[in-house]
């Protein structure tokens, strides 16, 4: 009889069935968002959702949404496993893999992930940053709750952007050092020591602000404006461009849309897997913050007080950045959160059971 094997690597694991074909289900704990879709989907009940709430809260760097005073109570941060698969029950059908919104569970058949096999369904999702439109401002990188975006940029040389240069007439200079003290770019070094006075201007640092020229008591600094003397000769606009590119780590991306939301240049396009609603019942909410800590999208937050005596909502929810994964609704101790999925965008499939599994995600 064919038996599954399980290989555990830290918080990750692989379940493998080797026969004529090799099926392998791999789990990556750091990608998992703890939504529990796999647990409710598994047709053979082989998946258990772990302690996702305590897990999310154990990460000291995001502790209780940044409340340092509470973080101090945690001496030993624990990183628990979010999902476990019982290898004796698992039949490696791949339903968890097909329905996992973030590819934390991936089934491969003979080494090929099922997302690349036409017969299997996958979500129609993407995050694209248009390099032509991107200003490389790094706003998306800072907003990304999963640290999935890296903007690599090379700045132009400052010298290429400066419109002129200064020269000092050392005969006239009295080495008073006033220009050096005022220079915002620290481009002037003056040695006032009697007998070995000197003044040196670092033209790579100078930004041609002319503060030195204006302040010089003996008018020893001469300015040469490049624009005036050479026209546009020296100012090649190509040299003034910031160059670089945006890199998205697809495995970590949850398609929350923060990057799209903060982009000032409309360079980002995000397609989410689900459409639906996220509603918080403020009366039921006990403000424990488990949802805030768990949400992979930073779509839930505590409001900032407007001042003493102001009455705020318990938790504010942003539907715009929510992916309707349902992790918050799953762990809320007071059932104060309702996540509804009304539409799912996945590639078409013929299998009736698989279609039913997708339909079951709607509610």
């Amino acid at each position: 009889m064919i038996k599954n094997t399980k290989e555990i690597k830290g918080k990750d694991f692989d379940v493998t069935r080797s026969a004529d074909e090799v099926r392998n289900l791999s789990f990556k704990n750091h990608i998992c968002i703890g939504c529990g879709i796999c647990e409710s989907t598994c047709p053979v009940g082989a998946i258990d959702l772990g302690d996702v709430a305590t897990n999310a809260r154990a990460k000291v760097d995001v502790y209780f949404s940044g409340h340092d005073k509470i973080a101090q109570n945690i001496n030993e941060p624990v990183d628990l496993q979010k999902v476990n698969v019982n290898e004796d029950k698992c039949v490696l059908c791949g339903m968890c893999s097909g329905l996992c919104p973030v590819d934390a569970l991936v089934l491969t058949i003979d080494g090929v992930p099922i997302a690349e096999i036409d017969e299997y369904p996958s979500y129609n999702v993407y995050t694209i940053i248009d390099d032509d439109k991107c200003l490389l401002c790094q706003k998306c990188q800072n907003a990304c709750p999963r640290e999935a975006i890296t903007i690599k940029r090379q700045l132009p040389n400052r010298v290429d952007l400066v419109t002129g240069e200064i020269e000092v007439n050392e005969e006239e200079c009295i080495n008073c050092g006033v220009c050096s003290e005022l220079c915002p770019a620290e481009a002037i070094v003056v040695d006032p020591t009697t007998g070995q006075e000197s003044i040196v201007i670092d033209k790579d640092k100078c930004v041609y602000c002319l503060v030195c020229k204006k302040v010089c008591p003996v008018n020893a600094i001469k300015a040469v404006c490049r624009s005036c003397s050479y026209g546009e000769y020296d100012l090649d606009p190509e040299l003034a461009k910031v160059k670089g590119s945006a890199i998205i780590e697809d495995a970590l991306c949850v398609r929350c849309g923060w990057c799209e939301g903060v982009c000032p240049a409309d360079a980002v396009e995000v397609k989410k897997p689900f459409e639906g609603t996220l509603v918080v019942d403020q009366d039921k909410c006990g403000t424990c913050g488990a949802c805030v800590d768990l949400c992979p999208c930073n779509a839930l937050a505590f409001p900032i007080s407007e001042g003493p005596g102001s009455r705020m909502e318990h938790v504010i929810a942003s539907e715009e950045y929510c992916i309707k994964c349902g992790a918050c609704a799953n762990i809320c101790p007071n059932e104060a959160i309702t996540v509804t999925r009304t539409a799912i965008d996945n590639t078409p499939i013929n299998s009736i059971t698989w279609n039913k599994a997708f339909d079951a995600l709607k509610n």
Binding site: R17, P43, S351
Partner: protein
Amino acid sequence: MPKHIASGLKYLAAVRLKDEGKSQQYIADQLDIDRSTVSHYFNGRNLKWNSIDVAKTITELSPADFLAMVKAVFEDADMARKIVLICKENNYDAMIKESCIGCGLCVNLCFMKAIKLDSLHAQIDSICCCGCYICKEECPTNSIKILEIEND
């Protein structure tokens, strides 16, 4: 001894094929034996009768046990499949219910290679089914139905 049982099974297969009106050359090619051996078989020579008796007993076992015995006796899996197909006592009508999730467990389990996955739904070739019910027993969603058809 296993070799004798294998010969006995081949003898039974040869007789079955002959009853189906197949030529001796065809039978020899199918069972990977000399044509002269086939001829000897039909003349009742070169084979001990008790090998044939043992072989007969094996074919009369439950389909799962029959399959297990044939698998054990023949090293060559293709030959084992051929023998099971020719010597099986019954024919089967197999179908997969809609509840199939396409996990492929049955495909991996079926020694007869009778099952294939098509669009995440298993398909059983009834002609190749040996009735061992291993797939049916292991199916996680109880989606396999196999009916026995009496062989007349």
